[in-house]
Amino acid sequence: MVVLEVRDLRARYSASGPEILKGISFRVEADDFFAIIGPSGAGKSTLIRCINRLVEPSGGEILFFDREVTTLRGRQLRLLRRDIGMIFQEFNLIDRMSVMDNVLSGRLGYTGNLRTLFRAFPRDDIQHALSLLDRVGLLEFVDKRADELSGGQRQRVGIARALMQTPKLLLLDEPTSALDPKISREVMALIKQMATELEVPCLCNIHDVQLAMEFCNKIIGLQDGNKMFDGPTGEMDQAKLNEIYAMEVL
C-alpha cells in the first residue's frame, strides 16, 4: 500500500529566491527502503524536510496515508510529525542529557507538558526505550551523557530515538555522512534491519551511491531540483548515474 505520495512538489527558500524543487512526484510503499541521490545542491535535503514540514513547500501536494499534509498547522502538524521519525546527519542529540533522556525525548509528541517538565515518562516508555537501546547495542551507555559517545554510537541513539515514536515512516537525512565508511555500513545495516523488523518504510537522502545501491530497493535521482530517475535499484546503471551527476564538479 502507498504510505507516502508526493505530487509536483515545489520548494523555494524565499519568495524571490530560486526554486529548489521544481515539481517532484513519487510514491513510497509500505515495504520500501527508498533512496534519494544526486549531486550537492540538487535539493535532496530540502525534499526530505518538506515531508515533515521542517521546510515549507511552496507548491504541490504531499499525501501521507491519503491525507493531505501541506496545509496542516498547530496540533494537527504535531500529530503528523510524531508519526514520522527523522534521523539526522549531525545526530542532533541533546549533548548534556543522558542517552536514556535522549531516547525518551522521541516520545515528547505523546507526553503532556507537566510530565515533560519533571521528565516523568511512563513505565511503558522506559521499557520501550530500554529494549530499543538493547537492540542497537547501547544498553551499558544508558546513563552516559550524549556528548561522551562516539559518532557511530550517537547515531545509534538517534536511531533509537526516532523509533521510540513508533513511526509509520522514517526519514533519513544523510544519516552516515558524518561517519567513517566502516561505521557507515554498520549503521545503514542496523537501520535497514530494524526498519524491516518493525515494518517501517524509509525515505533516505544519501550521498554515497554505493550505500544506496546496497541497502535500498528503489532510487530517485535528483538534479538541480528535477527528478532524473525513479525506479527500482536494479534498473540503475552507470549511464544513468553519469546523467544525474553530470553537472557535479568534483
Binding site: R82, M86, I94, S105, G109, T116, Q165
Partner: protein, 279 residues
C-alpha cells in the same frame, strides 16, 4: 650591489605618499572635529582646567583631615548591621524575581524561539529595553514615590532593573544556540514548551547560571545605594550622615559598602569559575 636592488629599466616609477587625497583629508578632518568637540565640551561644562590640579591637592587634604579616621564603631553597631542584612536580602530577592521574570522575557525576545516573531518578539524586546534603559535609581525613586519608604520599593526597583539586565542577556544566549537539537524536537512532534525544555535549556543552562551570578552582582551593588533614596538598606545611613555632615561616619559607611561589594564579587567570581568548569 646585486641586481635585485636596482630598479629594472622600463618599470614605471610608482610614488607612495602617506598623505592620500581625499581619504587622508577626510580622516584627519574627522579627528580634528572630534578634538574640537571635546574642547567645546570642556568649555560648555565650564570645567576649570586651570584649577583642576589645585582641586586634587585640596581633595587629598580634605580626605586626610575630614574623612580620616573612619568611624568604624559606628558601622559595627547592631542597628547598622541589621540594615546590612536587609540590603543583602533586598539584593537577592530583587535579583531572584528579576531573573524569574526575565526567563520568559528572554525566551519571547529571542528571534529564533519566540512564539510569534511579529507580535510577541518585538513586545518582549521593548519591555526588556524599557526596563534596562531606566536607571535603577530612577526605578527606586519612582517606587518610593508610589509606595512609600521601605524595602518593598527597593525590591521592586531591583526586580525591574534585573529583568531588563538579564532579559537581554538571556535572549542573546538563546539566539546563539545550535538549532540542530531544536529541529530534532520539532521533527518528533513536540510543542514549543517541550522544545524549549529539551532542545534549548540544556544548551543554555550553563550560560544562564553565569548570567544569574552576574545579575546578583549588579543587583547587590545597586542595593547598597537605593537606600539613599529611601528604598531600604545601607544607603539610608549614607544619606543621613551626609546631610548631617558626619564625614567620618560617611567614610566608615563607604568603606563598609566597598568591603561588602568586594566580598560579593569574590564569591561570585568563584561561583562563576565553578560553573565554567561544569561545561
Amino acid at each position: 650591489m646585486n641586481r635585485a636592488m636596482t630598479p629594472q629599466p622600463g618599470t614605471p616609477q610608482r610614488q607612495w605618499r602617506r598623505f592620500k587625497y581625499p581619504g587622508s583629508l577626510i580622516s584627519y578632518g574627522i579627528w580634528l572635529s572630534i578634538l574640537v568637540f571635546f574642547a567645546y565640551t570642556v568649555e560648555y561644562l565650564e570645567i576649570p582646567l586651570d584649577r583642576l590640579l589645585g582641586m586634587f591637592e585640596r581633595m587629598g587634604s580634605t580626605l586626610a583631615n575630614r574623612y580620616y579616621p573612619p568611624d568604624i564603631e559606628y558601622i559595627m553597631d547592631a542597628d547598622y548591621l541589621e540594615y546590612v542584612l536587609e540590603t543583602i536580602q533586598m539584593a537577592y530577592l530583587g535579583a531572584l524575581f528579576g531573573l524569574l521574570a526575565s526567563v520568559p522575557l528572554g525566551w519571547f525576545g529571542s528571534f529564533n524561539m519566540s512564539p510569534s516573531r511579529r507580535y510577541v518578539y518585538p513586545a518582549a524586546r521593548l519591555i526588556t529595553m524599557g526596563c534596562r534603559a531606566v536607571h535603577e535609581m530612577i526605578w527606586a525613586i519612582l517606587f518610593v514615590t508610589i509606595i512609600g519608604f521601605g524595602m518593598l520599593p527597593g525590591v521592586l526597583a531591583l526586580m525591574f532593573f534585573c529583568t531588563g539586565f538579564a532579559g537581554k542577556l538571556f535572549a542573546e544566549e538563546i539566539e546563539a544556540i545550535d538549532m540542530g537539537p531544536v529541529d530534532a524536537m520539532r521533527a518528533s512532534g513536540a510543542n514549543l514548551f517541550q522544545i524549549m525544555l529539551f532542545g534549548v535549556f540544556p544548551q543554555v543552562r550553563v550560560a544562564f547560571t553565569g548570567i544569574a551570578i552576574y545579575t546578583w552582582d549588579v543587583s547587590f551593588r545597586a542595593a547598597t545605594v537605593v537606600g539613599f533614596f529611601g528604598a531600604g538598606g545601607m544607603g539610608w545611613y549614607l544619606k543621613r550622615n551626609i546631610l548631617q555632615i558626619e564625614t567620618e561616619r560617611v567614610a566608615a559607611i563607604l568603606l563598609s559598602i566597598i568591603f561588602l561589594v568586594l566580598i560579593s564579587e569574590a564569591i561570585s567570581a568563584w561561583a562563576r569559575a565553578r560553573v565554567m568548569k561544569m561545561k
